[in-house]
């Protein structure tokens, strides 16, 4: 096996600033990315780090306040709900559904939108006309109506939630990726590739697509923020996963009901939801800024 070539000496210093380093200087990316990373670790390790079983009821320990208030019980850091289930453990487990829906729905919406956007932007003509027209019609239909209809059609459950998000939001990706593809196609390196005689499909996948990835990543991050809220809303009204699985939306619904009785049941999941949405948004916005040389200036 050949040794990897390492450049040493003055030549090593003549490198353009790496994209990764630019990212780390963007505070929004640091904050947002850091929080999401932490959340991801929590979601994966939930069974190991949760202090209690999130489903275990103990009516003797119902509606306990958080640890810093009078009447708290040791070991229940954020208190318990009316059935005596540990709020902190439920929050930690709730991140699993939230992130699962965010990752799966944003990836699927991105996949559909990107493929169609690339094709429309690169091949133009009829392909573009048909795809763009579908996107226009799709976007004219208000998202709330479409989600009411889709959930009515699919029934409740986490898969319907994901399907609804994908069906409604693939257009966001399609529109932006198409515009990006059109912009890339005008650049000299593409003209060069065509002159050399690269096949069209190969130019699209090997040359254009890699240059669109940064924009795509930023869009996916923003979409995940949207997906987390949609999932929370649907589990709030009881149209997402079954009620015994801990979700932030379900916890919020419980907190709203018991608002005069145990306000902390609303504060904890709402604060986590807010921080998550903000983190995805800041990460997406920050990435967009960091990757876009015009905006950076």
């Amino acid at each position: 096996m050949a040794e990897p070539i390492t450049i040493t000496g003055p030549a090593a210093q003549f490198r353009p600033p790496s994209r990764f380093k630019t990212l780390l200087t963007e505070p929004k990316v640091l904050f947002g990315g850091g929080f999401i990373l932490l959340l991801l670790v929590i979601a994966i390790l939930a069974p190991l780090i949760a202090p209690k079983n999130p489903l275990e009821q103990d009516l003797m320990l119902g509606s306990l306040p958080p640890a810093w208030l009078d009447g708290a019980e040791p070991g229940y850091y954020l208190g318990t709900d009316d059935l005596g289930r540990d709020v902190l453990s439920r929050l930690l487990y709730g991140s699993r559904i939230a992130l699962f829906v965010a990752v799966v729905s944003a990836s699927l919406a991105a996949l559909i939108g990107t493929v169609l956007g690339l094709l429309a932007g690169w091949y133009g003509g009829w392909t573009d006309r048909i795809i763009s027209r579908i996107v226009d019609i799709w976007m004219a239909f208000p998202p709330v109506l479409l989600s009411i209809l889709l959930v009515a059609v699919f029934g409740s459950g986490v898969h319907s939630v994901i399907a609804a998000i994908v069906i409604i939001d693939w257009t966001r990706f399609c529109r932006v990726i198409r515009a990006e593809t059109l912009a890339q196609a005008q650049l000299d390196y593409i003209t060069a590739a065509r002159t050399v005689g690269f096949p069209r499909m190969k130019i699209l996948t090997r040359e254009i697509f890699p240059n669109i990835v940064p924009v795509l990543i930023a869009l996916v991050s923003l979409e995940m923020g949207i997906a987390v809220v949609v999932e929370a809303i649907l589990s709030f009204v009881g149209l997402s996963v079954s009620s015994d699985t801990p979700t932030w939306g379900g916890m919020i619904a419980q907190g709203r009901q018991l608002i005069h009785h145990a306000w902390w049941l609303l504060v904890a999941p709402l604060a986590v939801l807010f921080a998550t949405v903000l983190a995805f948004n800041q990460l997406g916005g920050g990435l967009r800024r960091a990757f876009d040389p015009v905006m950076r200036r």
Binding site: P142, V144, L150, V229, V237, L239, W263, L266, V277, N281
Partner: protein
């Protein structure tokens, strides 16, 4: 000329509404799960089931069902709600005014708050206040109505319990309203005690709907104002000795309002969509709250009626924005 363009838009609106109706119908006919199965008592005879299917027109072919349904809708017959066993049109008309009052109040509040912050931000440019406003607004832009509503529940419902947490009016206060527009009617009839009670019930849902829109208005309007402030006509007015406040309010605002307006129109449709979840959180008796129950109960006739009403509202808003933009823009008016 302008009459033709208005006519064009009206025709387009009708076509869009027909499209919405068609999509609604097609989507809801592929629903897995028989609505009749949920209505019948266990042990009903097959003849009873057939009779019920015939009664709701579910035994016809799909195009025939659509034809029958569309004909009925045109004359205002939306069918009977399966879960509530009442006429859908009657249910919708009873609930719609509550939602309209909520949405319009929220629009007004959003324009006032968003406009005020944008003007203050413009007046305070080159001071430390401006980046503070921009940063705060940037963070708040990410907050959806769902989160606002619940944060308000905690802040104004629990921590400072000033406003009622749910409903539209205190049930003990109820006078005999002749219209379903309680807020407007109580004002017209000079019953200020009732007006204040209804207004107090609306504070939190209105704020939850208005604040996301206000942050968008602030960003767009402030950008447009800053751009207008460096134009020659503003410089001229400044040289004439006009005060900074009057410069912003009289000169810049007039020219910045156009771009802000068309965006506000689009965002207003999102606000109306937001009534669905916000009404739910505050148990406000509007069509949004009703929509969630309809979906949970799989009440197809009611869902169809609700989606058509929401669709019609969105179309009317878009039409209104187009016409308003044409009225405000002299080039479009005479073009």
């Amino acid at each position: 000329m302008i009459a033709i363009s208005i006519l064009n838009r009206l025709i387009m609106a009708a076509v869009t509404l027909f499209g919405v109706a068609l999509i609604v119908f097609v989507l809801l006919r592929v629903v897995p799960g028989d609505p009749i199965a949920m209505m019948i008592a266990p042990g009903a005879s097959p003849a009873d089931i057939l009779a019920l299917r015939a009664r709701y027109g579910l035994d016809l072919s799909l195009p025939a069902q659509f034809g029958v349904w569309l004909q009925a809708v045109v004359i205002g017959d939306f069918g009977t709600s399966i879960s509530l066993r009442r006429d859908v049109l009657e249910l919708l008309l009873g609930r719609l005014p509550a939602t309209l009052e909520l949405a319009f109040a929220a629009l007004v509040v959003a324009v006032l708050i968003g406009g005020a912050v944008a003007v203050i931000g413009t007046l305070s440019r080159r001071t430390p206040l401006e980046p503070a406003i921009d940063a705060t607004n940037g963070v708040l832009l990410a907050v959806p109505d769902f989160v606002w509503a619940l944060a308000l529940v905690l802040l104004l419902g629990v921590l400072f319990p000033i406003f009622p947490l749910s409903g539209r009016i205190d049930p003990t206060l109820s006078i005999d309203f002749t219209t379903p527009f309680y807020l407007a009617e109580s004002l017209v009839r000079l019953r200020f005690d009732i007006f204040l009670d209804i207004a107090a019930h609306m504070v939190m849902p209105v704020l939850a709907l208005a604040l996301p829109l206000a942050t968008v208005i602030t960003r767009i309007l402030k950008e447009a104002l800053l751009e207008a402030m460096v134009q020659d006509y503003v410089l001229l007015a400044r040289l004439k000795g006009m005060s900074e406040v009057r410069l912003v309010l009289q000169e810049a605002l007039r020219n910045a309002i156009g771009p802000a307006l068309s965006l506000t129109g689009v965002q207003f449709t999102f606000l109306v969509g937001g009534t669905v979840i916000v009404e739910r959180i505050f148990s406000y008796p509007g069509i949004g709250n009703m929509a969630i129950d309809a979906v949970i109960n799989r009440d197809l006739p009611l869902i169809q009626g609700l989606v058509l009403v929401f669709g019609a509202i969105f179309i009317v808003i878009n039409l209104g924005v187009d016409l308003l933009a044409a009225a405000l823009n002299p080039r479009l008016r005479h073009g």
